[in-house]
């Protein structure tokens, strides 16, 4: 099996499985965890759209030299999730905590 196909399987099944696990009892997790979770969910969902488009269009067999189609179709769903998680984590760390979590001094 080629690395691209392994990446496709991981992007199709491993990433959503990890997201399902990471989303369990999400409200009890830290702000960074929640940010990473939502970032990964958003990135994976958005990445699945060009991945599906690349898979189907144009309706011809994928060539070995078809780099963009290979990247979008095989790798994007796998790579987008950790990138989105990293961005979500950083964003959550920078954002001020919600009002109900602030101390009296912070208010």
């Amino acid at each position: 099996m080629t690395p691209g196909r392994v990446a496709l399987l991981l992007g199709l099944f491993a990433v959503p499985a990890v997201l399902l696990w990471a989303g369990h009892r999400l409200r009890r997790r830290s702000a960074g965890w929640r940010g990473a979770f939502w970032g990964a969910v958003l990135a994976h969902t958005l990445a699945s759209l060009p991945a599906m488009a690349a898979a189907m269009w144009p309706p011809v067999e994928w060539g070995a030299g078809d780099r963009w189609r290979g990247l979008a179709g095989f790798w994007l769903m796998l790579l987008a999730a950790p990138a989105g998680a990293a961005l979500g984590y950083l964003r959550a760390r920078r954002a001020p905590p919600p009002a109900f979590q602030r101390t009296t001094r912070q208010r």
């Binding site: 099944f13 309706p59 011809v60």
Partner: protein, 183 residues
């Protein structure tokens, strides 16, 4: 059924529904979209619809070998980069032609080539005139629909999607109707 097993069943149905729904979202979306595209392959221009009447009796049709060579000669200048060069001799015809679909009532033969775009050349059976040439997009979409495009064993992915869909239906109905059942 007593309360505890029923609760366990409901919990199992919920988690099966949740996990299968999330894990098979993209697979089922691709199968659904390719299925819709295949249903409307003529309307979407994925499959050419060549209207033609026979120009001579079927007995006067050219031999299959000649028709294949006419098709290969017509397709050769349009071959995409990466496609194997289509030979126009008899041995090349065997190697380059995927299948020939003879339509005696329409008076033509559809010669499908073994290239990336599944190019199809429609040739008049009697005169050998090329009536149409173009890619058969539905061939690729059909292979993607079944998972075959990635390799022989990948049809199991499509099978798994089908099983997941049936389980999703069953668990969905269970989650909807089970709480309404009188205890």
């Amino acid at each position: 059924m007593s309360a505890a097993p029923r609760q366990r069943l409901a919990r199992g149905a919920f988690y099966a529904h949740l996990w299968l729904g999330v894990l098979f979202t993209v697979v089922l979306a691709v199968i659904s979209l390719t299925g819709v595209a295949l249903n409307h392959k003529r309307g979407l221009g994925l499959m050419p619809d060549v209207g033609h009447e026979p120009t001579a009796p079927f007995a006067a049709a050219l031999p299959l070998d000649s028709l294949a060579r006419i098709a290969l000669a017509a397709a050769a200048p349009h071959a995409a980069d990466g496609d194997p060069p289509a030979a126009t001799d008899a041995a090349g015809a065997v190697a380059s032609v995927d299948r020939m679909d003879v339509r005696p009532r329409d008076g033509y033969v559809k010669v499908r080539l073994r290239d990336a775009a599944s190019t199809e050349v429609t040739v008049d059976l009697a005169s050998g005139r090329v009536l149409h040439m173009g890619a058969r997009g539905d061939v690729f979409l059909e292979r993607l629909h079944s998972g075959e495009v990635f390799g022989d064993g990948w049809v199991l992915l499509s099978d798994a999607g089908a099983v997941a869909l049936v389980v999703l239906l069953a668990t969905g109905y269970w989650l909807w109707l089970a709480p309404k059942r009188p205890r």
